[in-house]
């Protein structure tokens, strides 16, 4: 198991670096989600299943969805960004 832990730790650092260094925002968000899931595994290995559950559900799942949603909003042409229906001049 020590080799698995070492591999997990290294993969965590690599995914974190990839998420930070990615030019493409979509790739960065995906790397962030992968990082969150691996982090959940790391918490399990550290015998903290409570934190692992929260990390997988909130850190990887919901934050990932919110980031993807924001990305979809940012990619739209400027004119079609609508705050409220009928709000635009």
């Amino acid at each position: 198991m020590p080799w698995l832990d070492l591999l997990l730790g290294l993969t965590l650092v690599v995914t974190a670096a990839l998420a930070l260094a990615a030019r493409d925002m979509f790739r960065a968000v995906i790397m962030f989600i992968v990082f969150g899931l691996l982090m959940a595994l790391a918490w399990v290995r550290l015998q903290a299943p409570d934190i692992a559950l929260a990390e997988a559900a909130i850190g990887a799942g919901l934050t990932g969805v919110l980031l993807l949603d924001t990305l979809g909003y940012l990619r739209r042409p400027f004119g079609s960004r609508v705050d409220k229906p009928g709000d635009r001049p």
Binding site: A54, L62, V65, L66, T70, R76, G79, S80, D83, P85
Partner: protein, 233 residues
């Protein structure tokens, strides 16, 4: 330019060394907290040490956490108005997604309930159950299922505040016999914790869902957005 990079690298190295030194040189813990928790477990009303710490021994911290969550969603609500759930704005008109949802939704709800119930004797609890509940809400929204009751602002706000208010109310009620704030009576500790966790689950789920619902409506094509605007009164 290279001088800046060099100084930044040196700064990073210095911080790393300082952090490593701080970790290696930290003082030994003065009291054995795990042992204290284990010895106090019979008084907690639950069987899982982490739930006991979160909702009994250090329930004040959890209370403040919930207050911070509520504050965050209040600020988010103040900045943006929640977008009504309209299927044509979801952009995911996919019959397969709806079919899968019909299978997944009961399963998700059961998992949320199980996590909440399991919190008293194994890993689980209000935060995890609440986020699973929120995941169900996010899926519903992505599938374009209209959830009209979420648009009821008063109901939504009551749901958001329910967890904190119940927590505060129980914390204050137990003071009547003359014990400090949030000191549950031994006989009812388990029930009180379960009631608090149940309301916290609902509030946390609603908090996360309403954060997601604050995202703008989906309209990728500018012409389509204009048409939608024209249709809107």
């Amino acid at each position: 330019m290279s001088l800046r990079i060099l100084s930044a690298a040196l700064l990073c190295l210095g911080i790393t060394v300082a952090l490593g030194w701080a970790v290696l040189d930290r003082p030994a813990p003065e009291e054995n907290l795990p042992e204290r928790v284990t010895s106090a477990m019979p008084e907690s009303g639950v069987e899982h040490p982490i739930t006991a710490v979160l909702l009994n021994f250090r329930s004040y911290d959890t209370l403040l956490e919930i207050a911070v969550l509520l504050l965050a969603v209040v600020v988010a609500l103040a900045l943006r108005e929640a977008q009504p759930d309209r299927p044509e704005q979801m952009g995911l008109e996919n019959p397969l997604l709806r079919a899968v949802m019909a299978w997944l939704l009961p399963l998700i709800l059961i998992v949320a309930g199980f996590l909440l119930w399991a919190g008293s004797y194994q890993p689980g609890g209000a935060f995890q159950a609440g986020s699973v509940l929120a995941a169900a809400g996010v899926l519903l929204r992505l599938a374009g299922v209209t959830t009209a009751w979420l648009d009821n602002a008063a109901l939504m706000r009551a749901g958001l505040a329910l967890g904190l208010l119940t927590f505060l109310g129980i914390g204050l009620l137990v003071m009547i016999p003359g014990v400090p704030f949030l000191t549950y009576p031994l006989a009812h500790a388990g029930t009180l914790i379960l009631v608090i966790e149940l309301t916290l689950t609902l509030s946390i789920g609603l908090t996360l869902i309403s954060l997601f619902r604050l995202t703008p409506p989906y309209a990728d094509d500018p012409d389509e957005a204009r048409e939608q605007d024209a249709e809107a009164p």
